[in-house]
Symmetry: D4
Subunit: 254 residues, 8 copies
Amino acid sequence: MNKDYWLSLFNQIKKEEVGSEQFLEMVRDYPYSDLAHTKLDTHRSLFRNHAEVIYGEGKSARQIVDIVLHQKKLAETSYLITRVSRDKAESILELMPELIFDPDAAILFKAKDNINGPEVPILTGGTADYSVAKEAAITLSYLGCTPKIYADVGVFGLHRLLAIRENLLRTRVAIVIAGMEAALASVAAGLIPGLVIGVPTSVGYGSGAGGKSALLSMLNSCAPNLAVVNIDSGFKAAYLAAIAIGEKFNETTS
Amino acid sequence: MNKDYWLSLFNQIKKEEVGSEQFLEMVRDYPYSDLAHTKLDTHRSLFRNHAEVIYGEGKSARQIVDIVLHQKKLAETSYLITRVSRDKAESILELMPELIFDPDAAILFKAKDNINGPEVPILTGGTADYSVAKEAAITLSYLGCTPKIYADVGVFGLHRLLAIRENLLRTRVAIVIAGMEAALASVAAGLIPGLVIGVPTSVGYGSGAGGKSALLSMLNSCAPNLAVVNIDSGFKAAYLAAIAIGEKFNETTS
Amino acid sequence: MNKDYWLSLFNQIKKEEVGSEQFLEMVRDYPYSDLAHTKLDTHRSLFRNHAEVIYGEGKSARQIVDIVLHQKKLAETSYLITRVSRDKAESILELMPELIFDPDAAILFKAKDNINGPEVPILTGGTADYSVAKEAAITLSYLGCTPKIYADVGVFGLHRLLAIRENLLRTRVAIVIAGMEAALASVAAGLIPGLVIGVPTSVGYGSGAGGKSALLSMLNSCAPNLAVVNIDSGFKAAYLAAIAIGEKFNETTS
Amino acid sequence: MNKDYWLSLFNQIKKEEVGSEQFLEMVRDYPYSDLAHTKLDTHRSLFRNHAEVIYGEGKSARQIVDIVLHQKKLAETSYLITRVSRDKAESILELMPELIFDPDAAILFKAKDNINGPEVPILTGGTADYSVAKEAAITLSYLGCTPKIYADVGVFGLHRLLAIRENLLRTRVAIVIAGMEAALASVAAGLIPGLVIGVPTSVGYGSGAGGKSALLSMLNSCAPNLAVVNIDSGFKAAYLAAIAIGEKFNETTS
Amino acid sequence: MNKDYWLSLFNQIKKEEVGSEQFLEMVRDYPYSDLAHTKLDTHRSLFRNHAEVIYGEGKSARQIVDIVLHQKKLAETSYLITRVSRDKAESILELMPELIFDPDAAILFKAKDNINGPEVPILTGGTADYSVAKEAAITLSYLGCTPKIYADVGVFGLHRLLAIRENLLRTRVAIVIAGMEAALASVAAGLIPGLVIGVPTSVGYGSGAGGKSALLSMLNSCAPNLAVVNIDSGFKAAYLAAIAIGEKFNETTS
Amino acid sequence: MNKDYWLSLFNQIKKEEVGSEQFLEMVRDYPYSDLAHTKLDTHRSLFRNHAEVIYGEGKSARQIVDIVLHQKKLAETSYLITRVSRDKAESILELMPELIFDPDAAILFKAKDNINGPEVPILTGGTADYSVAKEAAITLSYLGCTPKIYADVGVFGLHRLLAIRENLLRTRVAIVIAGMEAALASVAAGLIPGLVIGVPTSVGYGSGAGGKSALLSMLNSCAPNLAVVNIDSGFKAAYLAAIAIGEKFNETTS
Amino acid sequence: MNKDYWLSLFNQIKKEEVGSEQFLEMVRDYPYSDLAHTKLDTHRSLFRNHAEVIYGEGKSARQIVDIVLHQKKLAETSYLITRVSRDKAESILELMPELIFDPDAAILFKAKDNINGPEVPILTGGTADYSVAKEAAITLSYLGCTPKIYADVGVFGLHRLLAIRENLLRTRVAIVIAGMEAALASVAAGLIPGLVIGVPTSVGYGSGAGGKSALLSMLNSCAPNLAVVNIDSGFKAAYLAAIAIGEKFNETTS
Amino acid sequence: MNKDYWLSLFNQIKKEEVGSEQFLEMVRDYPYSDLAHTKLDTHRSLFRNHAEVIYGEGKSARQIVDIVLHQKKLAETSYLITRVSRDKAESILELMPELIFDPDAAILFKAKDNINGPEVPILTGGTADYSVAKEAAITLSYLGCTPKIYADVGVFGLHRLLAIRENLLRTRVAIVIAGMEAALASVAAGLIPGLVIGVPTSVGYGSGAGGKSALLSMLNSCAPNLAVVNIDSGFKAAYLAAIAIGEKFNETTS
């Protein structure tokens, strides 16, 4: 139900191609479509300029296909389904081969074509944080931004971070992804003038298992420009980054 | 050490009012001043356009005065000291009567004069969240934004929130402050198109005492546009809001 | 050992069809039957009008069959066994094909025939809460109520909840099932005049994994009409709802 | 804004005693009154048959007086303010001597006159749970029920509980208040056919300090008819009890 | 290295059947045998009248066989190895067919022949606590006591517990095993004049998963005669019971 | 209501000094006396050979006096009230000067005269554990045992513990009281053949504050002869010790 | 009981100034002195080259004086008592004016005279960590090392830390003291080639209150050369640093 | 990039075997090599005398091979990769048969040849702590120290620990590895004059599962010479031990 859908509907009514009964049928779903198992938010692409993102965990392959087909019917052209297991992804891809599955990020998606929104740097503390970074990167692309990953710049070897210092000096929004003690978030936020969104990861063991240590670190950071999201939520960080950065490039493109 | 300081220095050198030795003495402190007890970040007003904010807890009245006098010497004209007890505030005010103390927010400050930056809505769940809201509001003013508090719009009486719905429809950045189960954050984020910064508060009792319940609620919110800061940190929320909103109005004013 | 059992026994004694020794043998089990592994509460259907519900976890298929056969011998006609794995259910169904297995709810049951008790609305926050909702719904049916599921009405898209607002206005008892930050419980309780029973679910990840965040949210809700049960306990919520609503329809039917 | 208020308004309009402008002024506050610090829910006495209960913690004496005076202006005749410290209560009582302060329950209230609603038993585990029981009892009275406290019937001396067994046999709703291991809740729920609302208390020490042990006990009770509220929340338990029991006696009295 | 071993050694020396060098070889291991992977306590059967009990978790089948063979060489005639998986047990039984494996208790053992020590009642809250009860029962037998299990006497159906009340009236030491809210421990301790050892179990779900709720319940019990051991530790409870009861029957048998 | 009370009553009836109505009045309270605020267990001195111990916290001075006077009327001659603040103790002592207050243990008591029961060693880890040791010691005396405190034998200076090793070799029951990491409990239990009751204390700071570290240490001890009670519960440890040791010396004295 | 004490004793025996009975009296206390409340370790100054450090919390002023006087009698010349409140310190100073009280560190001490041991850098994250740093510094002096405090070098303003980088390049042992998210520990450990001892502090608020966040950060640090001690334990960090550095300078001085 | 690499480079330049362009290519990676997935710290063998240790968890077999091959190219001759699963190890060994896999420690390594550094004792509480001890031992060897494992010397059988007391008397640095209540750490630290590094292990069950109890025990130990690392981190303990002991033997060998 994006703008094109409504504009075309408007024209069809004017041209009397659409009668009142047909019209009522078409708008019946507004503002959401009830698919029995799911109440799909259908007007989000008007309000937020993208179709509702689907959280895959806890939904069956069948339910996901239902949802995406429904979005397609409503003229959506890009899709994003997060947290999809490889098995589930394969059953879905058989039915919808136009989607792409990224196994690192566990994401199934189809992005819009020509993305040239502003760059958002994504810093990770270690190699093991990569899957969360990938979830953030694909989400950023889906939302029209250009992700730029700086992997493995954790603070123990500080020179690795200082080496990219220049690249961060004019950053308006950045994402920092780190597990264990997540000290990278505080240090990086000190080098970045803009908004930093911290994603604690569940990378770690012993007292740090599950990401609790990283989460507490980020919440208690001395950096005033660091906001925090839930453990491993690369998606949410990307979403926030896109919103924070969004107004400007949206306006220039519209 | 704000821009004026450096520009005037530049001119003084050109006019030969400042000799090289004097110059070296003046820049000796760059990039921080060592006050023995505190290493004051002195170039932040260049980089971020405001003097370093002082966290008052754990510092003596004497130390705070030292810091503010030093900032004054460096040509700062606005000051913000958070988490100052009434006793400490009174001793400081005797020496620096130009500061203002807000007992609700436990903040000692002097803001710049003509603030007309963009409006940032601050929603609170209940009457008891007011002191955190006040901390956020004064910080926003200090950073050049215009805070607008909507108090006591918690979700149990949903009509109180729906009544202000229209005011939120074009919000780019908002702050939501709530204790107990903090459901307001998720609901409000659903009504706001822009970035929402959630501040869990320590308001509550029993299993919710200390703000843990509110913090977990916000971190686990279904709203993708909700970022979180530490419990009771009105200051950090305001700081983030100002940064997120900042680019635009800064550019129009410069 | 329901009423029919006792009434028929009473008549058999009067007609001298049952002698004193036989009588003693028959009441030997009162008030419970000792099946070695389990002490089965046998007079509950007198006291509470249904056979004891069996908690399946930690019991073997063999033990469950023992129990149900014993209940059958005591003239029970409806059965409810919760938390039964698919494997266990299949072994039991071979022996007792009259039972029905619901894999979503992991429940094995046989309900009474003509259920027309009062309607109890069950609201869920998301698609992933469905199995808990199903456990509640089957239990309600078993206890003579009519469940009505409103799935996926979480608060981020508030219009989905407001769309069913009218249906809730005369609700005496409702069940709200939600994971993550469970804000739905507080909001729904504000729209419902009657008793609301909240079931936190283990749906979530990171800091919300296991349901702790949802549990704390519901316990700390600002809604005074919200009572809470253990995480994922759809059964207990249904049981409480049936008791709360029960007096009235029981009286009209007796 | 109870029924009388609206009926009298209706009649005044019919008799042309109230003009349209005056009418608009009167309904301006519907559905809540904005007292700046508090948004008071003013139509609750229509919807729920009592004025909004005020949570006193975190509100100043002045704010509480404002609220109660406003309720008075809207024709309320009963008031309930919970969690009021003795100091605050004394300042309020100077201005509003018609209120009563109960120091055990930390409640300031004025109940309706002739309460003869159904009896709700309140069981406590020990002498130290008394203040929470008192909070529940006064709230029940305020809501039109008749509280009956059975104090100090904890399970270690089981005969104390068995001695009141008969009194519980026809109970539709009961409240059980217990700290430490709160075993009373499970045992009492087994003796009561109706709905039991458990209130864990913060009575205890060591690993049980703060009520965590009691809360977990109640949430994990084997009793299916036990619902739980937050630690020390005598108010919420009473509120729930009144709602659960409410329909019937309301109907007979109307 | 039990008494018989040492007495026979003593006699062999007297009869000159054992020379000094052989003697030194034989006592070399006193007071423990170093098996490289394990330092086996070899004089415990003198001090405590039984061979050291082996904790099987974290030891390989090969290591366990080493240990038992070594104990055999030192004239032990009874063995107890706890927490042995079925796989490990089967490899061990091939080499040592004289041992018995109890799959419920996950114990591998060989008890002394004629056990007629005092009876120790073991009460369990539910059917699912049975494996812990079995671990306690076998350990008691190994240590010369007579276990008596009363299964499934949880407090919700209090009549099941009251039915065995008479059996408990002269109990000197009892074991109570319960999960979930473990209210049975407090209630049973009130009915038993002697020492009660509580074993919280990991039976439960949601907020009670892992046994935390049961553990806190027992630690915070109002019963002064209730001591607590770690979650699921049927072994330790049995060991403590045997020691507490031990003096008396040991003396009559020696 | 100890044995003397009942024997004298028996004789009075035989001698016709007590009529049936008077008799009924006298036994009216059996098995407990309802003092409104407290249900006093009055037959415990028959069952357990001492009057009910009163937990002072959460009871007013007035309530405590009521209880003790009532116990006195029932012919008790020894009393024990734990956790009494100095202020409360002083008000009580004015009315009942025969009681003794121990400020270290916060206990108010009157013990029986000639105590010569078996010795129970009490070991403490450090000087700061002394108040808990004192609570245990007075309770032991009250229950007829002879406490023997070995203070400050923590494991860092192991020679302090080894120096008392001989004294522990024939111990049937001992109490070990320790805070911080409470390693003393495991080590001492290894040196003691009998039952050891561990009392974790709240002595410690940082991550050990409140006694959590000591509690976990004792619960997870490798010593099979170590039972645990709640943090700081010197009373419960003493009670358990007295019961465990009790049978024997009771029998010799009766 | 330091070396001088024993050497002089040795000479006195040789010169027959000390007889055998007197000798026995003198060594009676070896290896500890029993002061009733405290078992003082008296041979530590032989083993570790300093008198036992006294932990002041939980000891009365009187007990502390007893201990220090006893140490004095045994020829100790330096003393260290940690965690002493100002009140307690003042009572002690009246009796022992040769001690010095440092109110920031809450330490009472008398150090040896000419300290010229190796330098140990102490880095602190913020001004509020100063009291812990002071505790570490005084302890280091007491143990013969030279503390060098670098205060307020937290990572948000990284240039403050980089400015002292050169000073750390040849550091064998350093102490890092930080609260909140304690990122300083990881970053500093990356700049220091030697052993780093991290002290988390209780500085912080909200989810970081009490030091839990800082503790977890340090335990989960990516830096392999970072060891951790308990929250706020400046003393233990200093002690460990002195031991780690000790061998070398001890050898050169002996 | 160890010393040999740089010295040979230096000579090649002098002999004009390496031109400036080639030189730039060779130093391009200084101070780290960017392998896309990993930023490898390449100058650590200069600074710390060994190649960067690779943390295997979260890295693919392919990534590990990349890293080791790169290290080889830079003239490293020893390698250490920790936390490698057997599967991953086998794929790596096919490509790099010169590495050795230790399945107990889950380590893949190649140590330098002639290790004769100082001995570091490793004490373990029980047989199940062996894998952590092995991780520490291999790491120590890799870093040039000589590990000496004393297995299964837990404190319940104190004689096992006292038997090795003499071996510990001159220890400068030791590692203590223990799970459950980890009392061994405190006791052993009391017997060792030098630095003790405690490694809590995840060995345990019930309330001790995951190592939390052992971690708290070590953090709260009364032993001032005990430093702590994360749960199960044998690697970090070994690394710290090698650094602490290092200066001396490094100097003698250089």
